[in-house]
């Protein structure tokens, strides 16, 4: 049986991999130890000093900066409709492009606090399932 554990990530190195148990999945990025500059995704070289970047957790929380809903035929086996947006990450201040929870479209608004979820979502373009990260509203209480 196919479990989350043997479904590959859609892009490697941009989020922590399961099993998560009680731990939140986190986005992964890069930081330049010399310039203290943050990146998502992690680049090979720092754009400022061309030094090697180091992998760093970008946490799992943020705030929606903008969002939209795609109402036409979805690419890559994504839900119909589905939502994407930019999220301002709490820890690094990076503004990252991401999928948003397609089951929570009615709740989405600018300024909403969200947290990261990683689940099998859509495919790789050839029908093979892939793990994708998306942000979901943080429920109050």
């Amino acid at each position: 049986m196919e479990t989350v554990l043997n479904i590959p990530p859609v892009v490697s190195g941009i989020f922590t991999l399961p099993p998560y148990d009680q731990i939140q999945p986190k986005l992964l990025g890069g930081v330049c130890p010399t310039c203290n500059r943050y990146y998502f995704p992690r680049p090979r070289y720092c754009k400022g000093c061309l030094g090697q970047t180091e992998e760093i957790s970008l946490g799992s929380k943020g705030v929606i900066y903008s969002f939209t809903v795609i109402r036409r035929k979805s690419p890559l086996g994504l839900p119909e409709p589905y939502s994407v947006g930019y999220v301002d990450l709490e820890e690094s201040g990076l503004r990252v492009f991401s999928l948003l929870d397609s089951r929570a479209i009615a709740q989405l608004r600018i300024g909403l606090k969200v947290r990261l979820v990683v689940e099998p979502l859509g495919h790789d373009g050839h029908g093979a399932p892939r793990l994708r990260p998306y942000f979901t509203p943080i429920t109050v209480g």
Binding site: T68, I70, K73, L94, R95, P133
Partner: protein
């Protein structure tokens, strides 16, 4: 004194051309430009050919050599150019610089594209981009800007729709435009939702098409009465700094500023503008970057009719991408052709009276919430 001039233009109507190849369409546009300029093939010193999607859709490469040999041009340097939606205007930028550098006297710029193919779907930036894998589409990138602009500045769905209505009114007057039926704000807002807040009539349609211009040195141009001067040709690339403010493209402002400086003009000097209205919000953001209004007031500018033919700043009198359709590689060249036609006083029913200075603005690609390329071409009669 200008460094180069446009002396010939040619294009085929944009639309569905199911029986025509990219080479066939490109060759006809080139032929028409040669005839318009009264130039014979041996007089051409170099050629640039712009196309964005033939590699992906048809497995084609180096199509320029095929196009130019169809009109008897061989042996000279031929360069194939891809810069997304700004491919055609980037080719023009290269031709201008080649002439300004004294490396050629007569250069052809041709853009051609064929997008009416089954199952093309909504356009993205390519499968290797991580953002594409996370569901980003070109339309969604613009939609995220629209939502943020509406949130910060109170831009309304009606104002967005007015861009489409205006450009269609203009498109009615352009025999080269693909869609020429008038539309109302209600029809725009009631057309099927594609990517919120854009309904179908707020997204530029695909098209097949080709467009060609001939650029030459001032010494040749000064003997020709229909020559149009090139006062600036600017190409800027994105900054990709994080975070990006989605209510504008810094790259747009940079390119416009450089173009005004180079041409020695300001927005008040512009008689006619073509800009990259791929989606309605884009035109509003470009008004602001071009300085036609203050930041955040682009929606009000179109609402007041100031960018309509007859208004203070006529924008996209060709009908824009929204009416003409967007054969990606040909679009940037078609915009330049519209400005040249206006400055030659040959635009017929859509002529801006007494137009002396015009600007063609184009933008291509999306990366890290920034544009990859922005071109500004300033032309004068």
């Amino acid at each position: 004194m200008p460094s180069a001039a446009v002396i010939g233009v040619g294009m085929i109507p944009f639309g569905k051309h199911p029986d025509r190849s990219i080479v066939d369409m490109g060759a006809e546009a080139t032929f028409l430009a040669l005839k318009d300029a009264g130039i014979r093939p041996p007089q051409v010193n170099a050629c640039f050919f712009a196309n964005a999607f033939a590699g992906r859709l048809f497995g084609d490469m180096t199509l320029g050599q095929h196009v130019f040999w169809e009109v008897g041009i061989n042996k000279v340097p031929i360069i194939n150019v891809e810069n997304a939606c700004a491919s055609g205007s980037t080719a023009f930028y290269l031709a201008y610089n080649m002439i300004a550098a004294g490396q050629a006297d007569m250069v052809l710029v041709v853009g051609a594209e064929k997008l009416y193919v089954p199952e093309i779907g909504l356009i993205n930036s390519g499968e290797t981009e991580f953002e594409t894998q996370l569901g980003l589409l070109a339309s969604a990138g613009f939609a995220l800007r629209a939502i943020r602009h509406m949130n910060e500045f109170g831009t309304t769905p009606q104002q967005l729709a007015q861009v489409a209505v205006k450009n269609r009114r203009h498109g009615q007057l352009n025999p080269f435009a693909q869609f020429r039926e008038p539309i109302t704000v209600e029809e725009v807002l009631n057309s099927p939702m594609i990517v919120e807040p854009f309904t179908r009539l707020q997204c530029c349609p695909n098209a097949d098409g080709a467009a060609a211009v001939i650029v030459c040195s001032p010494s040749i141009a000064k003997k020709l009465s229909r020559a149009v001067n090139i006062d600036a040709a600017i190409l800027c690339t994105g900054s990709y700094e994080n975070p990006q403010d989605l209510t504008y493209w810094g790259t747009d402002y940079r390119a416009c500023g450089l173009a005004y400086e180079k041409a020695g003009i300001g927005p008040e000097d512009l008689d006619v503008v073509e800009c990259h209205d791929a989606f309605t919000i884009a035109e509003i953001l470009h008004y602001e970057a071009l300085g036609l209004c203050a930041k955040g007031e682009g929606g009000q500018l179109v609402e007041r009719g100031e960018t309509m033919l007859g208004g203070r700043f006529p924008v996209n009198v060709s009908g824009g991408l929204l009416s003409r359709g967007h054969p990606v590689g040909a679009t940037g060249v078609a915009q330049i052709i519209e400005i040249v036609t206006q400055l030659r006083n040959e635009a017929g029913a859509r002529q801006v009276k007494g137009a002396r200075v015009g600007l063609a603005h184009c933008m291509g690609g999306d990366k890290a919430a920034d544009t990859k390329s922005c071109t500004i071409i300033v032309l004068s009669a």
